[in-house]
Symmetry: C2
Subunit: 177 residues, 2 copies
DNA sequence: TAGTGCATGTAATGCGTTACATGATTTC
DNA sequence: GAAATCATGTAACGCATTACATGCACTA
């Protein structure tokens, strides 16, 4: 499980055979919210994993358009399960520029500082809208895939709610007429 | 505001003069939860900012131990305020391996999948303990610095709570005697 | 026929961490 | 006298994104 993309590739292939392009597309509407991956990582990784026998590729062109479908091998499934069960510290990292601004908001007049909370609220409301769109997409998801989507929605709602509460608490900003 | 460390350095110096070492130490018990910074970024950045006139350094050795204190210049304060008010997309990125595992947990037997939720819960409970320690540290924080600490505690509690609820919902795991 | 989506791939770039080097001071 | 902490700094490395190159297929 050497690189950070390895689990995403193995995991998505555990849900069914896919091409590199489809892996990227799936990442973009699912894991990218908490685990991003780019073409520059995916394609080299697919070849590496094939070389190691964890996945196998099969040419499946659409007409004259080249396309290569990958599927998990039994060894690949074992590697995925081993990763899911492995011990050791899990990376959980956040990089949140909005929060950083709020952290330093004492450098601003009070109303401008509240504006930062307003902005944060708006950001999460926009994310929430996008998550609802994804949720409305047809097709069943496996239970835990769905659970993580629920998490995304609940978390995003919590963030927006938190901002709303703080805005309330810190006094209605002196809105001009 | 060219690099990612710039706002942290300017922001922390807006709270009072500090050395590079102290900036790193402050980051490690405050912003690192949502905005990390390493020596490899901080020291070069301090010199760059001094060259640009946004901060100024003053030698303030402790005995024979070299030490250089930096403080914000008026231009630096303006740059900080400009950044706080600037428009454009804010980076908000999450990298959460625990969530990634839960996302792919359908590959495991149900009880092992629940184990992943248990692990996530424990992780956030540990973070919460560390945040409470930081909270108990003596000294007043500026209002918005404190607000972000409150956010950290509330958010972490929410995460642990969410795990607890899902564990409840998905059935008590068949705990062996 | 022009634009968008499907499909694969890589080179360059930038960014940030890790690890190391050095040395003084305080604490046990 | 050893270990931890204060203090500054950089080189190497790895990782991930960005941008580009290429070409087919479908649709408006």
């Amino acid at each position: 499980m050497s690189t950070a993309v390895t689990p995403v590739v193995l995991g998505l292939l555990s849900l069914g055979p896919r091409s590199g392009y489809e892996i990227k597309a799936t990442v973009d509407r699912s894991t990218r919210f908490f685990w991003a991956a780019s073409y520059g990582q995916i394609y080299p990784e697919l070849r590496r994993l094939e070389g190691e026998g964890l996945i196998e590729g099969e040419d499946a062109p659409n007409g004259a358009r080249a396309r290569r479908l990958y599927r998990l091998t039994p060894a690949g499934r074992e590697a995925l399960e081993a990763w899911l069960r492995s011990e050791g510290r899990l990376t959980i990292e956040l990089r949140d520029e909005s929060l950083l601004r709020i952290f330093f908001a004492d450098a601003l007049p009070h109303d401008d500082a509240l504006e930062l909370l307003e902005t944060r609220k708006r950001i999460f409301e926009e994310v929430l809208a996008r998550l609802h769109e994804i949720d409305a997409l047809p097709g069943e998801d496996p239970p835990f895939v769905d659970l993580v989507l629920r998490w995304g929605i609940a978390y995003t709602e919590w963030e927006a709610q938190w901002c709303a509460e703080q805005l309330q608490r810190l006094g209605p900003s002196t809105t001009p007429a």
